[in-house]
Amino acid sequence: MGRSRGAAERREGRGHSALYGAGEEFVGYRPYRAGESLSALDWNLLARLDQPFVRVAKREASERWAVLLDTSASMGVGVPGKLQRAAEVAAALCAVGLRGGSTITLWSSSDTDRLDIDRGRGMAAAMHWLESKRAEGDAGLEALLATVRLAGSGRVFLVGDFFDLDPASIARIQRRGRELNFLRILAEEELVPPRSEAIEWVDPESDERRRMRVDKTAQSDYELELSHNLEAWRSFAARHRIASGCFGSTSAFEDIVSSILAPA
């Protein structure tokens, strides 16, 4: 199971997910770190001081963010539930975005409900909205992407388990200048299924059932299947310069958020 575990809780892709560095407003300089793009290097400063510095800029204060939250029934799986962790991540994103002066729109998949927040109507409303969400219904991110209107959103965060999502659907929301972020959250038993002579897996969305014997071989086979799935998303995100990460629902939301927002 090391492969699945390793695939999870790791930031994938090469998106421009940092809050600082890609905007227009100049903030200052910081020392150059090995491996950083040379395009960010301030060549004038290098010539004068003979030391490499990078220009640090801040995104536009008027930038609009969108957080698309999967609230389908499958997000109730796990201890704690995937939706629990996803809601915490969404709340953290709201806090960060509001602090940066962004306007944020929250979307939930099951009821296609939305909430717009800004500095005036801020965290309290977001928390109240998030707390009201329940994992129910069969509408996940796939359904949400079909209906959502993201006009003007510079950064879009997709938070869910991505099991129902087809990578082709991402094309609907891809725009020039829009930065996408995938935060994939899986339950513990979805990462490492427990061994059992007979276990009945139930899809809470379709109520489909499958009885399995989960022995070492089945565990290994499942790990392989999951790895393929994760790898498919990782390569997709890499190809489209999308910041992505897969995390267990037991991971701390701070780690998840800082991982996705940390400078690349």
Partner: protein
């Protein structure tokens, strides 16, 4: 092993088989309770439902299952460990209750055969013999063998039936004990008949067994008439009426001819002999006149006397002694004990005793009086009530005189009904002692350990309630 079947044995490893092969159980029916843990396990397996878990990755599982092509509906979870342990504990406890022990150490079951040796048991088995034919097998076992060789009497028929049936239920370590009135019990290790000397008629007439008080499992009655028994086995020969001699009235023999018909035939008086003098001899002479016996003082002769009275003081020195019984008293002289009159094989009864001295001893057909009268007037007559003296001794003569050869009472000659054969309930397997019962202790400890392990694993397997925040 005496209980487990071959199908169970085939599943056992060699060394276990060797142990089980030498095992026997005190309470084999308890082994039926082994079905309880087996049933428990079967039910647990049958009713077990797989653990149900929600997942968002069902599609991945579906793909895997499609590759494996497993019969998903047939999948059932295994029996939980606590249930295995609990069932093992049950099984060990049941085995302990069954009382396992080494077959060699078993003392075996004890079967009792109580033989009815009343006069009717020596009548021939054939129904309704004609008058005059010898039906009674004689007063002594030797006579029995001599008089009618090869003729089966009721006792033999019933005993053969009992032994034949007993042989079917006989186990290697079983024991057999014959019991009968006026006979010492006889222990055997095989279901065979005792010697005829044991089961033949004795000097003393025997009564029928006490069927009620001896009605217990493992007991077999060998008799002629069927009896209502609850636990004991019964082997009754049955048999019709047997006509013949009932007895004698002075010079007449009374014979039964069937129904209410009797015949009287003249007969010469039987002989009673007396050795010695004194008041007792005088009473005997008067008793002979009354009863129709011929009194004689001759000690030897061709005819066997119906009763012989020996009066002898024993070896000198003689001591004077006053003896008394039933209200009479007599002054006599007593010497040292003389050789016993009665045969050692025959039981004797002490009729009069003073201290350790046996003064009057009798057996059927013989009375031994170990004293002699005083010379002169002191011994002329007994003290106390003279009538009591005569009555007292007459009763003894009546008891001691031999019955008319071949005479059987009318009640004994009546029909014994139909034959009956029932083994009854077998005796209880005796509990093994000491070393033999070590298996019980081991199994009891094993049952306790398994139960504790089941409780421990049960407490360890409980999982906390899951928080599924939605």
């Amino acid at each position: 092993m005496s209980v487990l079947g071959a199908s169970g044995v085939a599943l056992l490893p060699g060394h276990a088989l060797a142990v089980l092969d030498g095992l026997a159980f005190v309470r084999p029916p308890a082994l039926f309770a082994l079905a309880i843990p087996l049933l428990l396990l079967a039910l647990a397996k049958l009713l077990a439902r797989p653990e149900r878990r929600a997942t968002g990755s069902l599609r991945l599982w579906m793909r895997l299952a499609a590759h494996e092509g497993e019969a998903a509906s047939a999948l059932r979870p295994g029996i939980p460990l606590p249930l295995w342990l609990l069932s093992g504990s049950f099984a060990a406890a049941i085995l302990a209750l069954a009382g396992p022990h080494d077959e060699e150490s078993s003392t075996g079951r004890l079967w009792r055969i109580i033989v009815d040796r009343s006069p009717s048991m020596y009548l021939r088995q054939e129904p309704a013999l004609p008058i005059g034919e010898l039906a009674f097998m004689g007063a002594r076992s030797e006579e029995l063998q001599r008089s009618v060789p090869g003729v089966a009497v009721r006792l033999e028929v019933a005993l053969d039936a009992a032994l034949s049936e007993l042989a079917k239920s006989w186990k290697p370590n079983d024991r057999l004990r014959y019991e009968s009135e006026n006979r010492e019990s006889l222990d055997l290790t095989q279901p065979v008949a005792p010697r005829p000397a044991w089961w033949g008629p004795g000097a003393f007439e025997s009564a029928e067994p006490d069927f009620v008080s001896d009605d217990a499992r493992g007991t077999l009655f060998v008799t002629d008439r069927a009896q209502p028994l609850e636990h004991a086995g019964l082997f009754a020969s049955g048999g019709g009426e047997v006509y013949g001699l009932l007895g004698r009235r002075k010079s007449l023999r009374l014979e039964w001819a069937g129904g209410s018909a009797f015949e009287e035939q003249p007969a010469s008086p039987r002989l009673v002999s007396c050795v010695g003098n004194g008041a007792v001899a005088e009473v005997l002479e008067h008793w002979c006149l009354t009863r129709g016996f011929s009194f004689t003082r001759a000690t030897d002769g061709g005819e066997e006397p119906a009763l012989r009275l020996d009066l002898a003081a024993g070896e000198p020195p003689l001591e004077p002694l006053s003896v008394e019984r039933d209200g009479w008293r007599l002054e006599v002289r007593v010497g040292l004990p003389v050789e016993q009159v009665a045969s050692p094989r025959e039981p004797r009864e002490i009729w009069l005793q003073q201290g350790t001295r046996e003064l009057v001893v009798w057996s059927p057909g013989r009375i031994e009086v170990n004293w002699t009268a005083f010379d002169g007037e002191r011994s002329a007559s007994p003290g106390g009530d003279p009538a009591a003296f005569a009555v007292s001794w007459s009763r003894l003569f009546d008891r001691a005189v031999l019955p008319e050869p071949g005479a059987v009472s009318l009640a004994e000659r009546q029909s014994a009904g139909d034959p009956r054969a029932a083994l009854g309930e077998p005796p209880i397997e005796p509990a093994p002692t000491g070393e033999a019962s070590r298996y019980e202790a081991w199994l009891a400890w094993l049952a306790a350990a398994l139960a504790a392990a089941a409780a421990w694993s049960l407490s360890g397997s409980t999982t906390p309630a899951r928080d599924r925040r939605a």
